[in-house]
């Protein structure tokens, strides 16, 4: 790359962040505008402004448009943004502590664990804690899968970073099989819905539920940001990081637990959406360099924008049908993976 990093830091990074924020806002508006019924952008802004402060705009739209924009598409776009930001943050952080650029909540089996927990709640245990049941069970499932990955890697003495990812792939297969058994044993009609949810979809977004992923996302993002320096130090090696005074094993465990929390909750609301956590941090490092103080916020931003557009594609490619968003991210992610392989070789 020909751009000197100093210039990159001073000029490109702030402009990436400002452009990113503007693009995020615009993407949300476009996502709300397009679909089976197109609502003009002006009307979208009118409805949003009206809801923020009713005196601001006089309604000149139908109640149908109002319901589509405010009740259906806006919460969906916001959920897409949160899931994209969350998965990208988890991917970026796991890549540092495993020192593996291929680490991703999906590849490491954490998403599968989340799905297992959510399916258990949806098909078998019932919602014994109300709305919180599915996210909580998904978190516990993700956490369980995480510990399984960590114990498999220590059992197989696969302590090196690359073998940890192999352990993750193995656990992912096993947990996914168990999840499929749960679906197989469950009520067939409900199972149909669950299979669709598992392929990834944001269609169930509702205002009264958005608060859960929002709170978890903000909390986890803040924790990751506070540890940006440690995440940098972890990339130079376990032993060297420990000579810098970092409690390496404990810190890695903490990152895995916070990552499981964030992944589990996102999976509960959106199903399994792969490759966001793998892809986004790579693209971001090309734009802003490798310092985690910049990688983390930029990943959240780019992840959010990416998933909003992936959802737009999912809703429009075969309109009026919604195709599961996991299919879209899987296609793009798989192609990205191949490009990455070629670039490394």
């Amino acid at each position: 790359m020909s751009i000197p990093p100093a210039t990159r830091r001073k000029i490109i990074v702030p402009s990436v962040m400002i452009t990113g924020l503007a693009l995020l806002g615009l993407s949300i508006c476009v996502a709300v505008s397009v679909g089976a019924v197109v609502v003009p952008l002006q009307t979208v802004w009118g409805i949003m402004a009206h809801h923020l402060s009713p005196a601001l705009v006089t309604p000149d739209w139908s109640t149908g448009q109002q319901a589509i924009v405010w009740q259906i598409r806006l919460p969906r776009a916001l959920l897409a943004a949160m899931v994209g930001a969350g998965l990208a943050l988890v991917g970026a952080s796991l890549q540092s502590v495993t020192r593996n650029p291929l680490a991703d909540p999906h590849l490491l089996g954490i998403s599968a664990g989340g799905a297992f927990g959510a399916i258990l709640a949806l098909l078998h245990t019932g919602l014994f804690l109300g709305l919180l049941t599915v996210p909580l069970m998904a978190f516990l499932g993700a956490l369980g899968a995480t510990f399984l990955v960590l114990s498999v890697s220590s059992f197989a003495q696969a302590t090196s970073a690359d073998r940890l990812v192999l352990a993750g792939v193995a656990v992912s297969f096993i947990v996914m099989s168990c999840a499929n058994v749960l679906i197989f044993l469950g009520d067939p009609r409900a199972a149909h819905t669950v299979v669709f949810w598992m392929l990834g979809g944001l269609g169930l977004a509702q205002w009264d539920q958005l608060i859960y992923p929002a709170v978890i996302l903000l909390g986890c993002a803040a924790w990751f940001m506070m540890n940006a320096g440690r995440l940098n130090a972890m990339t130079i090696g376990d032993e060297t990081a420990s000579t810098l005074g970092i409690p390496v094993a404990r810190f890695r465990l903490a990152v895995f637990i916070v990552g499981a929390l964030l992944t589990g909750v996102m999976v509960a609301f959106s199903g399994i959406i792969g490759f966001v956590g793998l892809m986004i941090p790579h693209i971001v490092r090309m734009m802003v360099g490798g310092d985690y103080a910049r990688v983390l916020p930029a990943s959240a931003l780019v992840g959010a924008i990416f998933l909003i557009w992936a959802d737009i594609a999912a809703r429009t490619l075969m309109a009026p049908e919604d195709i599961p968003i996991g299919i879209v991210t899987g296609l793009i992610g798989g192609a990205f993976f191949i490009w990455l392989l070629r670039r490394k070789a």
Partner: protein, 257 residues
Amino acid sequence: MTAAALRVQDLSWGPKQDLPVLHPTSFEVGAGRILGIVGANGAGKSTLLRLLYRFLRPDTGQVLLDDRDIWTMSARDVARNIAVVLQEQPTDFALTVREIVALGRTPHLSAFASGGARDATIVMDALAQLNLADFADRMFGTLSGGERQRVMVARALAQQPRLLVLDEPTNHLDIRHQLEVLILIKGLGTTIVTSLHDINLAATHADDVLVLSKGEMLTFGPPDHVLTEEMIARSFGVRAQRQHLHPSGDAHLTFHL
């Protein structure tokens, strides 16, 4: 930089009870002196170093830094006093040389704070000491092996250690960079403990040499006293001949099977 005195008393370690990798070992390194550790592969050099930088907890004995047991200090406190250059290579995560060197400031920063102007100056000084000022904004991943090693030494210097521990710092370096690294660390003024696989380099650059063989310290002292032909035969299993170079008159060891 100030230097710390290192005292090692009855230090031993093994992964299991009856599997000692390092038998009880005692020695002292005065403040500002350079200790070279030599020994055949598997002699326990890395284990001894790991005990010195508090990565392994000793089974018996103590490591005393200016008479303080390093296990009574916090990990952070130790990191402010002891810096380590290992052969571990950073994974390429698009960090610049400056960002890698700045990691050396980690133990000195209060939690969650990024460095201030003083830290930036220390990082620049460390870069300058290793002739890396022009490399500051280069991506670490684009450097050659020798340049990377210098970056890791600069990172250790940014830690402002009172004891610097190096594990085979000359490995994989060409002869020019080997000499540069050794001459540089000699001029630092801190106490230095380094393992070296090249016995002649140890003989010319260390104040004291410690010979390890099968987890035991065979001898310890100034190179001329310690690196005798018998000692090398015992620890490395080779015949050594001590010769004098012409015209400098320096001692030089040659090895034969």
